[in-house]
Amino acid sequence: MIGIESLSKLRSGVAVLDRVSLAGPAAAVTALVGPSGSGKTTLLRCLNGLETFEAGAITIAGHRLTPGPHAAEVLVQLRRDVGMVFQQFNLFPHLSVLDNVALAPRLVGRLAGAEARRRAGALLERVGLSSFTAARPGTLSGGQQQRVAIARALAMQPRVMLFDEPTSALDPGMTREVLDVIVGLARAGQTMVVVTHDHAFAKQAANWVVELAEGRVARQGTAAEVL
């Protein structure tokens, strides 16, 4: 479901991604590891078109991305099938938890308001937050906010989920509740790419690990081989 072929990206003339290819199983949980500045997050952002690239190609969830700017329609179609969870959650502070999750089904999925809210309610129950639907995101703990963000990304029923260091902004006590949700999704067969520093999590959940260093693939293989 995900293919990356010799992807290169320049920023101010410097290669931040240099001929990166993915050799692992297409439908799987892929972990991107490596030191800070190695290009993990940039690679992830290329996968849903938040960043453009100069050479190579990406196939993801049946869409093909090529070098240069992407057409607006291509991006809208792509993002219906590819959900993303950010390090800083990026929940919408002016909307309730329920409306955060229901916004995309309503606007992008064109569901009726009641139907969108029903779907949002079900997802919040799945991440264990059904009693917080009316709350504002700012009143929740970091772990709770990140679980809302996961529910929000799942609301479009994406074929691929992208996680950008989903636990780095959290206190240690809260990482577990978020990782449990992600591991649960993985076990349920959700295709995903996770940028992480957490090797224990990678060993537990990932069936393919890619280690990046200075924009290049240093190693890739199963968790047992790489870590």
Binding site: N48, L50, V76, N90, H94, L103, V108, Q145
Partner: protein, 505 residues
């Protein structure tokens, strides 16, 4: 003992203070000691009275400039000109100005409130129209005009204005009377077709007739009166000296030859002045009478202030938001245009923008009613400020919000509509509310384009009644009654925003 001592020293102090005050009449000595007679006029009022000399705009020309020079010469001093706005000239008396010489008509109210000299000039009121359009005769204004009531322009606070309003009140004219700050403004508006006619002192039209070739005098002049030199009530010796000086100028023919030089029919003027009858002073009205007579007018004008603010501000907000979004997210070719829009509107005075809309647009065939022009001008001017506030508000929304919305599949415009703008609005609410209060006060500028709101109404009433302080208190109370709810509203917004939204743990 101590208390008595203090009382005694208080009395001594008071006595010393009284001794320091100029005794009545010392003002004439003061003028002679200074060697200057300071006279006030408004050069915007134009010819033939007082206007910048076209040959050298740094100097003044006009028959009153020469009259003032003759008068000062009679008092043995030099004349010094002081610029002021015409309908506020009398307020300068007793501050830095000895007298006002600027086509000031002799009225019972002025006789009551100031020293009015013996008249030095006789005027008649002349109706001016377009050559190719009605009214054909002055009597026509008693019936209806081409489209309902006639629209007739006058100089604010002038005898033409009170004459015209008097005709309307008595049912002798069906007209909407529109007041302007300058005489030429109303002629300009007749030429462009915004007004049907203008009413003004005959000598003004005679002077400017060549510049307005498409206009004509309608019928013979009617009504009329006399110009007087105003001086303050507490300067009787100066007033007497001015009267004597005018008498000498009339007697020895210098005034007649001055008027002949200016094509003002010197012989007829002298006959008019010879037969001039004394005008009695008006009765002082009681405070209750004053308030009951002026309050309805003040309230109506306060309504205009509210209408202007409440119509202009929502427009300013919508346009400002569109401009802010266009500058930040619009196509590349649009951004410099919008930046130019903001800088031009912020960098030029609101007054000039109103003038441009009201006086220049009719020249390209787009004549807007004054109220529409005022609302449009306020809305455009404030849209520039609002757009800057919104731009700051949109910038204050973390960039991750936009990315998160895009990552969910929202289009750029959906992200703006549902994610960015609602958050920006919350941020900008306090500055926007305070801008509304600022706009509320800025509406007074609209009087420059004939819209009479509260401030203008106050200054006209204060001058015609002479009750400057009492009416100022009433007007201030009206402003307060309107701005107080606004202040409450803004505090309510602030409280709403201060309510803990909860920071991230």
């Amino acid at each position: 003992m101590k208390g008595v001592g203090r009382a005694v020293s208080g009395v001594l102090l008071a006595a010393g203070w009284v001794a320091m005050l100029p005794a009545g009449g010392a003002e004439l000595d003061e003028v002679r000691r200074r060697g200057e007679l300071v006279w006030a006029a408004d050069q915007e009022g134009g010819g033939p009275h007082v206007y910048p000399d076209p040959a050298d705009p740094r100097t003044l020309a006009g028959f009153e400039v020469e009259f003032a020079a003759l008068l000062a010469n009679e008092l043995g001093v030099r004349p010094r000109f002081q610029q002021g706005q015409w309908d506020r000239l009398p307020l300068l008396l007793g501050q830095s100005v000895d007298c006002v010489i600027n086509g000031i008509e002799l009225t019972p109210e002025r006789r009551r409130d100031y020293h009015c000299s013996r008249p030095y000039f006789g005027y008649a009121l002349q109706l001016i129209g377009r050559r190719d359009a009605p009214p054909a005769a002055a009597a026509d204004v008693a019936g209806t005009g081409p489209s309902g009531a006639w629209r007739i322009g006058v100089l604010s606070g002038s005898a033409a204005e009170s004459e015209m309003r008097g005709l309307v009140a008595r049912g002798a004219a069906q007209a909407e009377v529109v007041g302007y700050d300058g005489t030429l403004d109303s002629l300009e508006q007749v030429r462009t077709g915004v007004l049907d006619a203008a009413l003004m002192d005959d000598c003004i039209f005679t002077f400017y007739a060549d510049r307005f070739a498409s206009l004509r005098a309608v019928d013979r002049p009617f009504a009329g009166g006399l110009y007087t030199v105003l001086s303050a009530r507490d300067t009787p010796l100066l007033a007497a000296a001015i009267d004597e000086a005018i008498g000498r100028l009339i007697a020895d023919g210098r005034l007649k030859s001055l008027y002949d030089r200016w094509d003002l029919a010197g012989r007829q003027q002298m006959l008019l002045l010879r037969d001039a009858t004394e005008i009695p002073a008006a009765r002082q009205r009681s405070l209750l009478e004053l308030v009951s007579q002026t309050l309805p007018l003040l309230l109506a004008s306060a309504g205009m202030t509210v209408l202007l603010s409440c119509a202009a501000f929502p427009l300013a907000i919508v346009v400002g938001l569109a401009v802010a979004i266009g500058r930040m997210y619009g196509p590349a070719w649009l951004r410099p245009l919008l930046t130019g829009y903001v800088e031009v509107l912020r960098g030029t005075p609101l007054m000039l923008q109103l003038y441009a809309i009201f006086f220049l647009l009719p020249k390209i065939g787009l004549a807007l009613p004054a109220l529409v022009a005022a609302i449009a001008g306020l809305a455009l001017n404030y849209s520039a400020y609002e757009s800057e506030i919104y731009r700051a508000g949109l910038k204050a929304v973390p960039p991750g919000q936009f990315e998160a919305a895009l990552a969910l599949g929202l289009s750029k415009w959906q992200a703006l509509r549902y994610v960015l703008v609602p958050q920006a609005v919350r941020v900008v609410m306090p500055p926007v509310t305070s801008d509304f209060i600022a706009l509320f006060k800025d509406t007074s500028v609209c009087s420059a384009i004939t819209v009479i709101e509260l401030t203008k109404r106050y200054s006209v009433l204060a001058l015609t009644t002479g009750r400057i302080v009492e009416l100022a208190v009433v007007t201030a109370l009206l402003y307060l009654a309107m701005s107080w709810p606004l202040a409450l509203l803004s505090r309510w917004f602030e409280r709403r925003l201060e309510r803990p939204a909860g920071g991230r743990p």
